[in-house]
């Protein structure tokens, strides 16, 4: 995906198309959001009080065994409308352009975003999972669900 650049933005030039492993979406995130009204981050999404849902591909329902309502999980999802060629970006909320790896922008070489959310419901029969909030468009492809673990996911002291 290409498009207009803001002042100071730098693009990866002349790179071949991505030729690494292929992803397998495991379902879709069903959110209240589309272009134009999507909260800028998970904190803002939470403030709206609007929950969200995962529609898991039913083939993966057995992989939910052991997850609990109330548990925090990390979701990885594929931002399918984002750019993969931006090295330096100038989002509106930062004062000067910054490297992609110093930002949580969806625009990155692999457009994987992640959020730590709380499970509010699990229905293995319909393969749906309620979550407290999310900050992506409706129907965003889901890549993974991981249990959030204090021993792994907090920064080292």
């Amino acid at each position: 995906m290409t498009g207009r650049l803001r002042p100071g933005e730098v693009v990866l030039e002349g790179a071949p198309d991505p030729d690494g492993p292929r992803l397998r979406p495991i379902g879709r995130i069903r959110s209240p959001w589309g272009p134009g009204d999507c909260p800028r981050n998970i904190g803002r999404a939470r403030e709206t009080g609007r929950p969200a849902r995962i529609d898991l591909d039913p083939a993966f329902a057995p992989a939910l065994a052991g997850l609990q309502v109330g548990q925090p999980v990390i979701l990885l999802y594929w931002m399918d409308r984002a750019r993969r060629d931006l090295l330096v970006q100038a989002p509106r909320h930062v004062t000067e352009p910054r490297g992609t790896f110093a930002l949580r922008s969806p625009n990155r070489p692999n457009t994987i975003s992640q959020a730590t959310v709380r499970i509010t419901a699990i229905d293995p029969d319909s393969a749906t999972i309620g979550i407290d909030a999310i900050d992506c468009f409706d129907n965003t492809p889901l890549l993974d669900i991981k249990p959030w673990l204090e021993t792994v996911d907090l920064p080292p002291r």
Copy 2:
């Protein structure tokens, strides 16, 4: 990838090959570990006191602008020797088989692992980044570097 199953393990049967977007590795994680001596998780890796390094593809060096030594970052990396077909797993450290999405096992539909590490050095000229520890094999493909943010990466209250 296939192989022997442990009692209670369940495999995804008859699924087509992954046909989603292709990943673009951005570099390699250089670690002291190989098969046979790799710590089971980042906590154990940290206890060894052995640091690690990222060798970034130099094309992505501009994307480091704004990262700071001492900063915690999330690394996403591709566990290229793990299985993508396990729905229920029986790792040695759990008492009964558990769904893949309730585990941090590298075996999952998309074999993306993640760790929150601290940056110990940044050299934009050589496109290398020192990190305090890592729990993957030497030369594991790196997919992303994201700043760890308290407002995004802590579970909601």
